[in-house]
């Protein structure tokens, strides 16, 4: 049986008085691909924010690798080195593509040589080899998303959370992202990916978590 990466129980995340996510029980298995399906406003991004330790739920309990998460600043900072979220509309830092992709590595204190090597490998995996010196803000939308993917992947997280990574990209780029996701899972990474597409889970052989108005219904 696959070990649980996350175990959520009685989780409630709110915006003001509005409950955005209310989940009784949810388990994310380690080393597997999960597709989070739901319509706009169903709470997918909020749940990903909780799983990324960016938003503290108002109620409930989360176990990460079997250990309860207390959401102290120090604990979250450590956990965020193991979990990376790729936002739906990723922000590109000013400067070059290399500066963007290396951001997480520099934050972790990786040597300059290793950083350069990992940046090159990550860009190559998303089909943007040789883009290091390009200005990040001058890239097309599709290229920006791939750079953001490379930036997240470069951190080599245990868990990669993807908020609709294939939205607003052409079919070829979407297929490339999907095959990359599958290859990362084969390599042992746990991935949770949100999508509007009901069929994506079956297509990728993933576990599907359906969110409706913030409530989960694991299929």
């Amino acid at each position: 049986m696959t070990a649980a990466k996350y175990q959520l129980s009685a989780i409630e995340a709110c915006y003001g008085r509005t409950v955005a996510v209310a989940i009784d029980e949810l388990t994310i298995a380690a080393g597997e691909l999960h597709v989070l399906v739901g319509s706009n406003g169903s709470g997918k991004s909020t749940l990903l924010g909780v799983l990324a330790f960016l938003n503290e739920p108002h109620r409930g309990k989360i176990l990460f690798d079997g250990t309860p998460v207390t959401f102290t600043a120090k604990e979250c900072a450590l956990l965020r080195r193991r979990v990376t979220l790729l936002h739906q509309n990723p922000y590109m830092f000013s400067g070059t593509v290399e500066a963007n992709v290396s951001f997480g590595l520099v934050s972790r204190g990786l040597s300059r040589e290793s950083t350069r090597r990992v940046v090159g490998e990550s860009l190559e995996r998303v089909g943007l080899a040789g883009f290091e010196a390009r200005k990040a803000r001058q890239l097309s939308g599709g290229e920006s998303r791939r750079v953001a993917f490379a930036r997240a992947m470069a951190c080599k997280p245990e868990v990669l959370l993807l908020d609709e990574p294939a939205a607003h990209v052409d079919r070829a780029s979407a297929a490339q992202i999907e095959s990359l996701v599958v290859s990362l899972v084969v390599g042992g990474m746990t991935i949770v990916m949100s999508s509007h597409d009901d069929r994506l889970g079956a297509k990728l052989g993933a576990r599907v978590i359906r969110l409706e108005e913030g409530r989960s219904d694991p299929l």
């Binding site: 924010g49 990324a52 960016l54 600043a73 900072a77 965020r80 080195r81 979990v83 990376t84 979220l85 936002h87 509309n89 990723p90 922000y91 830092f93 000013s94 951001f103 997480g104 934050s107 972790r108 930036r151 997240a152 951190c155």
Partner: protein
């Protein structure tokens, strides 16, 4: 009219000849303004970041206080710092009164709320994805704040330059805390006030022209820097 034209002619000749009094007032002003704005930035920028991103009680009240401090009259700042630095004051023993250091302290107090407020505005106007992006890529809270400041660096530079503009053109603090001592604490503004009251209008005009040129140069620099950032 001929009086003004004649004064302009004398002013230009004073500038071109590198008159010692003019040069001394200009260099004193620039060096004091530079040091005081650096001191103000050291306190104002972190304060601005903390106020902009921090979640704490009475945040609104703190912002109102910062806003109000921007309009603090220079003579009031001069008076307050004078009270601390004068012989009877709590810091009288340090012997700073009527020295350049006293002016730096006073001008830094004057500029810090401006730097802090402009920094708050820059941070609050920044893209709200910056911090979550930095955090989720594994940066510590401090590294993330540093990245945030880096992303809005031109806003922060504008804040510092606004502080510089405030201190280079003020007269109250320099006069009260520096004592307008020739070749020591005499700045462009205190010299203009003194020389004009003595009837030396041309000398005052010469310094006024340099003061305007400095302000203009600072603004041109800022505009060019922002344009190159956008390009």
């Amino acid at each position: 009219m001929s009086f003004i034209v004649e004064s302009l002619r004398v002013a230009l000749s004073l500038i071109l000849a590198g008159d010692r009094d003019v040069v001394s007032a200009v260099t004193t002003s620039l060096s004091l303004a530079l040091w005081s704005v650096l001191l103000a930035a050291a306190g104002g920028v972190p304060t601005g970041i903390a106020v902009a991103v921090g979640r704490f009680p009475m945040k609104g009240a703190v912002k109102v206080v910062l806003d109000s401090l921007m309009a603090m009259p220079t003579v009031v700042v001069g008076l307050l710092v004078f009270a601390f630095l004068s012989r009877q004051g709590p810091l009288g023993a340090v012997g700073l009164l009527f020295t350049p250091k006293a002016i730096i302290v006073g001008q830094a107090i004057l500029a810090a709320p401006i730097v802090a407020n402009y920094t708050v505005a820059a941070i609050e106007g920044a893209d709200d994805r910056i911090l979550p992006t930095a955090l989720t890529l594994g940066a510590s809270p401090m590294q993330s704040l540093f990245q945030l400041a880096r992303e809005v660096r031109f806003g922060v530079v504008a804040a510092i330059i606004a502080g510089f503009g405030r201190v280079i053109s003020e007269v109250g603090v320099a006069m009260m805390l520096g004592g307008n001592i020739l070749y020591y604490t005499r700045t462009m503004t205190t010299a203009i006030a003194l020389e004009t009251s003595k009837g030396e209008f041309a000398f005052g005009l010469a310094l006024g022209m340099i003061l305007m040129a400095v302000s203009l140069a600072v603004n041109i620099f800022l505009t060019l820097a922002q344009e190159s950032h956008r390009a």
